[in-house]
Every structure is written in structure tokens, then in C-alpha cells.
């Protein structure tokens, strides 16, 4: 996963509340068995109409949006379905960070696992940033190392989960890290299952009648 330390780039505002992962990555793009080819699916039904024609009024379709790196979003962004395709599509489209007040919990975990930075700031601060952007587009610098964000000349500090920050900055192999505790897992599991023998899944061929 690509590391995130400090990044400057275009930001676009999508202030609606409860933008769900069905909207972020519609069902038509969920039929793969690998992670590729998802940039085209990102916000597909907002970017294109039913005949495939570009919707010029959608913010990401504006001509100055080609090199977008950040979104400024409304509350509960990424709620709904667990589909990680939403995060993969975001990164493949070029978006590396999202600035909002709250997120769907599974979406947030998926973002952390893939190096997509989510900043959680108070709703009043998000509203002030949106007001500063004016027509919904601007420039932002996010410095994860210094925990500072600068947008349209205003710099402010932000808090972030230290474990998420570390993983984003180092690009860790999470499974490899956990497997350094394999002995602990194994001894826990043996004692746990011995104490609760009803948890063992005995396979059989009984059929539901």
C-alpha cells in the first residue's frame, strides 16, 4: 500500500449527508475477482446518466478536476454496504484523502487498510472549510506527519488515531504483523476451544428438510 506522509492537491466538496457505498461504487462494478478497473466505477451514476453521457453539473466532471486528490464530504460518508471496492475505486481514481466529520465504520476500516486517509473534524470546521472553498473547489495540503491541514490559506491541526496514522505513514503488512503473535493466537485458541467444546463446527451431511 502506498504511504501517505504529506500531500498537496485539488479538493472538491460533496456536502450531502449519508453518501453511501452503493453511490460511491455502484453494483455494476462489483463483478470482478481482482481489485483492478474500478476507477471508471467511482460515483459512476453521478458522473454519467443512464445513456452513458457525462453529467456536466457533477463536480468531478468539471474541467479543473482532472487531478483531484481530496474530497470534502458531509456526515456519515461511506455508510451502507461493506464493499471495499468503494475504497479501491477512490484510490484508483487518484483520490488519496477524504475530509469530513463522520464515516461509515466499515468504510473507515477499509480506508485504513488501503492507505486512504480519512480526516474526522468537527462539523463546524467542515462547514467553515466548505464556505472557504466558495464554488466547491480548491487546493489543500495535508501533512500527516505534522498533523496539519492547510486549505485556502488557513492552516489548522487535526487529531487522528495513532495506529491508523502509523500504518498510513509506514504502509505496513498487517497480516504479517499479526502473525508475529502466532504463538499467542495458538495458545489462546487451544484454551478457548477446550473450555467451550460446543463451538467446534462438526461437519455433517444433514440436510435441511
Amino acid at each position: 500500500m502506498e504511504r501517505f506522509i504529506r500531500l498537496s492537491g485539488r479538493v472538491a466538496a460533496m456536502p450531502a449527508a449519508n453518501i453511501d457505498t452503493d453511490v460511491i461504487m455502484p453494483k455494476a462494478f462489483l463483478k470482478g475477482i481482482d481489485r483492478s478497473g474500478l476507477a471508471v466505477g467511482l460515483f459512476h451514476d453521478l458522473r454519467f446518466d443512464e445513456s452513458g453521457t457525462v453529467r456536466p453539473d457533477f463536480i468531478l466532471n468539471r474541467p479543473d478536476m482532472a487531478d483531484i486528490r481530496f474530497l470534502l464530504v458531509g456526515p456519515n460518508f461511506g455508510c451502507g454496504s461493506s464493499r471495499e471496492h468503494a475504497v479501491w475505486g477512490m484510490l484508483q481514481y487518484g483520490i488519496r484523502g477524504i475530509i469530513g466529520s463522520s464515516y461509515g465504520a466499515i468504510f473507515a476500516d477499509n480506508a485504513a487498510n488501503n492507505g486512504l486517509l480519512l480526516l474526522s473534524l468537527p462539523p463546524t470546521q467542515i462547514a467553515a472549510m466548505a464556505a472557504r472553498l466558495g464554488d466547491g473547489v480548491g487546493e489543500v495540503t495535508v501533512d500527516l506527519e505534522a498533523q496539519r491541514i492547510e486549505m485556502e490559506g488557513h492552516a489548522e491541526a487535526f487529531d487522528i488515531d495513532p495506529a491508523v496514522r502509523r500504518a498510513l505513514m509506514l504502509g505496513l503488512d498487517r497480516i504479517g504483523e499479526t502473525l508475529t503473535h502466532a504463538d499467542r493466537i495458538r495458545s489462546f485458541e487451544q484454551a478457548y476451544l477446550a473450555g467451550k467444546p460446543w463451538l467446534m463446527n462438526e461437519r455433517n451431511d444433514e440436510r435441511i428438510s
Binding site: A17, K31, I33, D45, S82, R83, A163, L179, W198
Partner: protein
């Protein structure tokens, strides 16, 4: 004596292999043991590919079950069901992964196939005190058994398969206490829709929510699953209910349930699976079931809902921060302010999904449909929650009632809940639906979803418009 604990914290403590920060409170970072998972064909492929690339094997293959539910056709003739190339590849890859990694798979032709959150409980694989994480957001369903159940993304599926654990952050807790009793014609679906309407789509964000109170105790296990299932629509990361004798009775007799001897030992331990009386929750919500009416969603977020006796709201009288979203939702839904809900005509009716397609749901709808006909011009479909539920309903003759009323009696799958298969709404079509999400495009691009209980879907199908099940069928619901 140790400090009083919530049910959620008790289960997390039992599964904590190690703590990374030893804080013990909300926000604690820990390594959590996962008892079981269920894998579907659309969120698991990249997890298996990850294992293959890294040369890793599943830690405990018997803790996983794989099945096909999201992309398959619900054509009554399984062999004739349409599958696009992507769906076919996902189904084949699931079987290949099962073979290569020693994981049991229920394919499309297995009599135990069905929607994952219907199949797992009916097999007896969901047991109180477990932690079950799976690649689907509605994994909260398992909370009805006193299980910490939650949805995860594909990277975490891979982590779970490889280690039988997840790196986990302990949640804050919230209790929703529901007193009183639901009125005739009002169901668990209406109860959870009212909770979501009250607290909002983010109202339980980041919390483990325990449902308690006499209205919950009075419900059957399947109705409790409906509540825990849909709790994710108000942001609950986990939904929980203390297991009782009804839960034990449900498990007993399931094909994969523990033997009677083991069950007796388990039941003695499960008695401790409840929040201590003095336990403190970070948030408390209380409501009475007595006043809850049959509910219908009008917008494009599950918290945009109303009593069936109500009218579409006027955005101008809504709180300022909700106005723009409500206006956008109304435009998408093709509705105008102040329209009575019962004046809204429908094109489609759908009973199905992990929320509301168990045997009790099908019986509820059948009671309304018996001796009635679907209104002209309405296409009505039912997709039972599992192949097992479908067979059980047929054994009771319920299929005849649906077919005689004019419903299509389909095969099992997620179907029109998210329309990843060939069941979908055409642009502009309006559907009365027993499902869980009314998002834009959820049931098809431009499709318009109204969420409600299965009995309310049956009533709408018969009337050809959104309808109050209580006025249609006073005798059947008493």
C-alpha cells in the same frame, strides 16, 4: 468484585488474545479472536487472491463457510437462471477457493444455499457468546443470539482467514430500551425503522448497540434478527440482545447445533450473557413500542421514513441541516411535499432479503394475501431467504397462496435488495420492498424504493399503492 460490565464488553473480553495498549476501555486496541465467518462470492475473491499471492493458508478452515447469494439469479428454474460472465467467474472462483483451501461451500444447487444471514442461523452455526465477522454489513444480524456480529471489508476477510483474528478497537456502547408491546399489524421492522428515524442514519455511529426491554423480550428470534440486521442502518457497528430460552429453543434441532449434552453445558454458561444491572452505557435511548405505527420510507436514506398514515414532508418545515438532503431525495423519488403516503401508486412489490425473508415473514405476508389478488399492473415477487426456508414454506402450502395471489415464487438470493443479479427496477419504477436500504440506485438505476414490513408489502401489492395493513386486514392481523 469486578466492575459491572455490558454484554458487549463481556464478549470482547472473552475473545481478547492480547491488548496493544492495556487500556481496557472504549477505544482499546486489541487482537480479537473470531469464532466464525461466512464468505460470499462477491466480497471474498480478492481476499483469497491475497492469500494465494502471499502463500498463506487459512488458519482454521472449519471456522468458515462459503456460499453463493449476491449475484445469482432467482429464476425458479435454477439451471435456466441468467448469470453474466462476472457472476459466473465469482461463483466458480468461490468453489475453487473452497477446494484449494478446505473450506465448505454451498453452491447454487445445494439445498442449503441461501442468503448468508439466513443460512448461518438456521444451520445452528450462530451460538451465543460468539464473535462472528463477515464480509457483509448486515452481519449485525447475529446479535439476536447474543453474538458480537459485524461486517468487514475484503482486506479484513483476508486477515481473518490468515490469522482467525482481527485487529480491533473496542466500541463505545449504547442501549436502546423498548418498553410496552407492539400493536397488531406492527412488526419488528416497524420498530427498527422507528428507531432509525428517531436517532438518524448516523445515530448509533461507532457504537455497539444493545436492545433491551419488554417489547424485545416478547419478540421471536426471527423478529429479533430483523432488528439487529437493520441496526446497521443507524450506524451500529454491532447490535446485541441478551440470549434467552427462545434462542436456545431456536438452536436446538438445527442441523449443526451442538449435541444435547454439549448444549446443556453451553446453556449454563450462556446464562451469564447479559449486561450486569449496574453496567453503564455511553448512550441511552428509550422508547415505547405501544405508539409505533406501520412505517414506510419515503426518501433515499433509511432514516427518511414516516407512519403510513402520514404525508410526504415539506422540506421547508424540516430542520435547516436536513432540508437540502430531503429536497434531493424527493426529486429522486418523484414525490411532492404533502402528498399522503397512501396516495402513492407502486409498480413493483418485493418480499425478500436478509432483513425480512424468514419463515415467519413469509407467513405474515401470506396471511394478508390469502384470498386476495395483486393489483393489476403491479409485478410482485418473493424470494425466500434460503432454499431451506423456501422448502419449509412449500411444506406449509404458502407457495400456493403467493402464486394464487399473483406473486412470482422465486429461488433464494439477495435478489432485488441490491439488484446485483437480473432482478432490478427499471428507471422510475416504484417498489414496495421488505428490504433494508432505499439508497439511490440500490434496486436499479433510477429505481425508487419504499422500505416496509413484509405484511405491508403484501398490502401495497394488493392495493396497487402504499397501504395501511391495518385497514386492509383487521381480522388477519389480530
Amino acid at each position: 468484585m469486578s466492575a459491572p460490565k455490558t454484554l458487549y464488553d463481556k464478549i470482547v473480553d472473552e475473545h481478547r488474545i492480547l491488548s496493544f495498549d492495556e487500556s481496557g476501555g472504549a477505544g482499546e486496541r486489541l487482537l480479537l479472536y473470531i469464532d466464525r465467518t461466512v464468505l460470499n462470492e462477491y466480497t471474498s475473491p480478492q481476499a483469497f487472491s491475497g492469500l494465494r499471492v502471499a502463500g498463506r493458508a487459512p488458519w482454521r478452515p472449519s471456522a468458515s463457510l462459503g456460499l453463493v447469494d449476491h449475484v445469482n439469479s432467482t429464476n425458479p428454474d435454477r439451471a435456466a437462471g441468467k448469470l453474466d460472465d462476472g457472476a459466473r467467474r465469482q461463483i466458480e472462483y468461490l468453489s475453487e477457493n473452497g477446494r484449494d483451501f478446505g473450506i465448505e461451500i454451498f453452491d447454487l444447487f445445494d439445498p442449503r444455499q441461501g442468503i448468508e444471514h439466513v443460512v448461518m442461523p438456521e444451520l445452528g452455526l450462530v451460538l451465543p457468546g460468539m464473535v462472528i465477522a463477515a464480509g457483509d454489513s448486515h452481519s449485525t444480524t447475529y446479535g439476536a443470539f447474543g453474538v458480537v456480529g459485524f461486517g468487514i471489508g475484503t482486506s479484513d476477510i483476508e486477515h481473518l482467514l490468515a490469522t482467525q483474528t482481527l485487529v480491533y478497537r473496542r466500541l463505545r456502547t449504547m442501549r436502546v430500551t423498548v418498553g410496552g408491546r407492539l400493536a397488531p399489524g406492527v412488526t419488528a421492522k416497524d420498530l427498527i425503522m422507528e428507531v432509525i428515524r428517531r436517532i438518524g442514519a448516523d445515530g448509533a455511529g461507532g457504537h455497539a448497540v444493545e436492545f433491551a426491554g419488554e417489547a424485545i423480550d416478547a419478540l421471536g428470534v426471527e423478529a429479533r434478527m430483523t432488528i439487529c440486521n437493520m441496526a446497521v442502518e443507524c450506524g451500529a457497528r454491532v447490535a446485541l440482545m441478551a440470549p434467552d430460552a427462545k434462542v436456545v429453543d431456536y438452536i436446538r434441532g438445527c442441523p449443526r447445533a451442538p449435541s444435547e449434552a454439549l448444549l446443556a453445558r453451553a446453556v449454563a454458561e450462556w446464562a451469564g450473557l447479559r449486561s450486569d444491572p449496574e453496567a453503564r452505557f455511553d448512550k441511552e435511548v428509550a422508547l415505547s413500542a405501544d405508539d409505533i405505527p406501520p412505517m414506510v420510507s419515503w426518501g433515499t436514506s433509511p432514516d427518511q421514513s414516516l407512519a403510513i398514515t402520514g404525508s410526504i414532508p415539506d422540506p421547508d418545515v424540516l430542520p435547516a441541516d436536513r432540508r437540502a438532503d430531503a429536497a434531493r431525495a424527493m426529486t429522486y423519488m418523484g414525490l411532492t411535499p404533502n402528498t399522503p403516503l397512501q396516495d402513492i401508486a407502486i409498480d413493483r412489490a418485493f418480499i425478500g432479503s436478509c432483513t425480512n425473508a424468514r419463515l415467519s415473514d413469509i407467513r405474515d405476508a401470506a396471511r394478508i394475501l390469502k384470498g386476495r389478488k395483486v393489483a393489476p399492473g403491479v409485478r410482485a415477487m418473493i424470494s425466500p431467504g434460503s432454499s431451506g426456508v423456501r422448502a419449509a414454506a412449500e411444506a406449509e402450502g404458502l407457495d400456493r397462496i403467493f402464486i394464487e395471489a399473483g406473486f412470482e415464487w422465486r429461488r433464494s438470493g439477495c435478489s432485488l435488495c441490491l439488484a446485483m443479479n437480473d432482478d432490478s427496477l427499471a428507471p422510475g419504477e416504484r417498489c414496495a420492498s421488505s428490504t433494508n436500504r432505499n439508497f439511490e440506485g440500490r434496486q436499479g438505476i433510477g429505481g425508487r424504493t419504499h422500505l416496509m414490513s413484509p405484511a405491508m408489502v403484501a398490502a401495497a401489492a394488493v392495493m396497487g399503492r402504499l397501504a395501511d395493513v391495518r385497514s386492509l386486514a383487521a381480522a388477519e392481523i389480530a
